[in-house]
């Protein structure tokens, strides 16, 4: 059994709904895989914690209900007794009662209207972009960048995928679709060059807990020491102190490249400073 399958059936293992043979295979995998064992323990404690919660939540007391209706009634009362100072009333108050003043104001408005109309016609070519239009435009540009990045990252040619990754630098750091495409690239792309570049692009997404957890998990999946070290250095850049236990395990794992182990040790020192 590999880690991917183990992660897939982990929920069923916890709920004890696996078949006997699968459960045995799962247990055998746990015995050999530290990462999966840690994950199982972590989720297992959450699972047991959930079981401890009471089945029904306590009902709110009778006085809570009364208090709610009281405050609702008080609010209604306040609304009704408040003097009516709506927009219409304010506008009506401005309008003079004498007909002569009314005429004068009407005439002044007419003159102003003609003037404004004339001015507007003269300045027509220069149309000011209002705030909302600018925001919309910006939104469209960022949508377009997202589209370009996402579609390039799925190309057959590694050169095109590399271009897609460099487009990912230009999207908003909150773009979860691009983030997930980048993570897929980091873990699965066929080209080490593309993977390495994608690790660099993850930096901008470093505030997200999803990114931080994914970087930690990705180190073991990599076959290239160059990518492993880039991920370790990214952990230091982003100050992912949660990574310390995994870095400790990496540093003492003989199956891992010596330079990578040394770098993991270095990172550990940096993070625990």
């Amino acid at each position: 059994m590999n880690c991917d399958l183990a992660r897939l059936i982990l929920p069923e293992y916890l709920s004890q709904s696996l078949g006997e043979s699968q459960e045995l295979a799962f247990a055998a995998h746990l015995a050999t895989c530290d990462a999966c064992r840690a994950e199982t323990e972590r989720l297992g404690s959450l699972w047991r914690g959930l079981a401890l919660l009471p089945d029904t939540l306590p009902e709110p007391g009778a006085n809570v209900r009364d208090r709610f209706y009281e405050s609702l009634a008080a609010y209604r009362h306040g609304l009704e007794s408040a003097p009516k100072h709506g927009f219409k009333e304010k506008l009506a108050a401005l309008w003079p009662k004498q007909a002569a003043f009314q005429m004068a104001i009407s005439f002044a408005l007419l003159v102003m209207g003609i003037g404004v109309g004339y001015e507007m016609q003269r300045e027509k070519p220069v149309q000011p972009v209002v705030g909302s239009e600018l925001a919309q435009l910006r939104g469209e540009v960022s949508n377009m960048r997202q589209m370009v990045a996402l579609s390039l990252m799925q190309q057959q040619s590694a050169g095109e995928r590399l271009r897609g990754v460099s487009w990912a630098y230009r999207v908003e750091s909150t773009d979860t679709e691009v983030l997930s495409a980048l993570l897929t690239t980091v873990n699965n792309d066929d080209s080490v060059n593309v993977r390495l570049s994608a690790v660099g692009a993850l930096h901008a997404f470093g505030a997200s807990p999803v990114t931080r957890a994914a970087i930690v998990q990705s180190i073991r999946k990599q076959t290239s020491p160059l990518v492993q070290i880039a991920l370790i250095e990214l952990l230091v850049d982003l100050k992912v102190t949660d990574a310390a236990p995994e870095l400790k395990r990496l540093a003492s794992d003989n199956t891992i490249d010596l330079s990578v182990r040394e770098r993991a040790n270095w990172a550990l020192g940096k993070l625990l400073q």
Binding site: G159, R163, S191, N193, G200, S224, P225, L226, S259, Q273
Partner: protein
């Protein structure tokens, strides 16, 4: 999806015959369309040369003699091309020729039309050598060097233990490129008028270039370690990745090695 397999039954006879001078010719279905050659070897050396012709020619120089093996199962419509213990499959599909070596050490000399894109993978053994190609080249090795010379287009090259040497006559305008090694030197020659945004990073080596690379202060801010309260030290160190532009900037190019040096030559 259009699935066209051309199987080369005669090839096995030819390949199995001798130890030297074995040669098989594989045509591309559409010689004027975009062509791709994929080579995937576990052990071995592969040398690819662009030439003025329409077909791919594959020459093997395997020197390992072993007893003839019988394929354990034959996939429908497929034929195994065996050469004295050296398993080698050659398949043409949608203008892509795929060569997969299964075991033992292969030494392949391949000729393809100059306008061919390459996807090359090798793990152990000798080098990957590419010459005289115009297209996009993606080469990945583990224990061996990569030498790509006299090419135009775009290049991605990575190896763990070995040197990466690339010399480009002409680059395609908008393609990103990447040249990386873990333990080896990265040595790249680019046309004098190339426009690029470069990222260079080595942890234990040096960076050399005769290009006028304008280093930018942007990228990552310097890391400041302020431990004055603890031991009175205040250290500013620049991240080892350096960013810059050549001839005003252009597509992204990355040069990364961990234990080697980086050389960027002007052609």
């Amino acid at each position: 999806m259009l699935r066209n397999l051309i199987i080369f039954a005669a090839a096995s006879m030819m390949l199995a015959a001798q130890n030297s001078g074995d040669k098989v010719t594989v045509p591309f279905r559409d010689p004027s369309g975009p062509k791709t050659l994929k080579v995937s070897l576990l052990n071995g050396t592969v040398s690819i040369r662009g030439y003025d012709g329409k077909d791919a020619t594959i020459e093997t120089a395997a020197h390992i003699s072993g007893r003839e093996r019988r394929p354990s199962h034959v996939p429908e419509g497929m034929h195994r091309i065996d050469n004295d213990g050296m398993g080698l499959d050659v398949v043409e599909e949608n203008n892509t020729i795929t060569i997969v070596g299964h075991n033992s050490s292969a030494h392949l000399n391949i000729q393809v039309p100059m306008q061919t894109s390459l996807v090359l993978r090798s793990v152990n053994g000798g080098a990957i050598v590419v010459e005289n190609i115009s297209g996009s080249i993606d080469a990945n090795h583990t224990n061996g060097g990569i030498t790509i010379t006299n090419v135009s287009g775009s290049v991605l090259a990575n190896t763990t233990n070995g040197k990466v040497t690339v010399s480009l006559n002409k680059v395609s305008g908008d393609k990103a490129m990447s040249f990386t090694s873990f333990n080896g030197t990265v040595d790249v020659t680019l046309p004098a008028d190339v426009k690029a945004n470069v990222m260079m990073k080595t942890n234990n080596g040096e960076i050399w270039s005769d290009f006028d690379i304008k280093l930018s202060a942007s990228g990552k801010a310097p890391v400041v370690e302020d431990t004055r309260s603890k031991n009175g030290k205040y250290k500013v160190h620049l991240d080892r990745a350096m960013y810059g532009s050549i001839n005003g900037g252009g597509p992204e190019m990355q040069f990364v090695t961990y234990n080697g040096s980086i050389l960027i030559h002007k052609k």
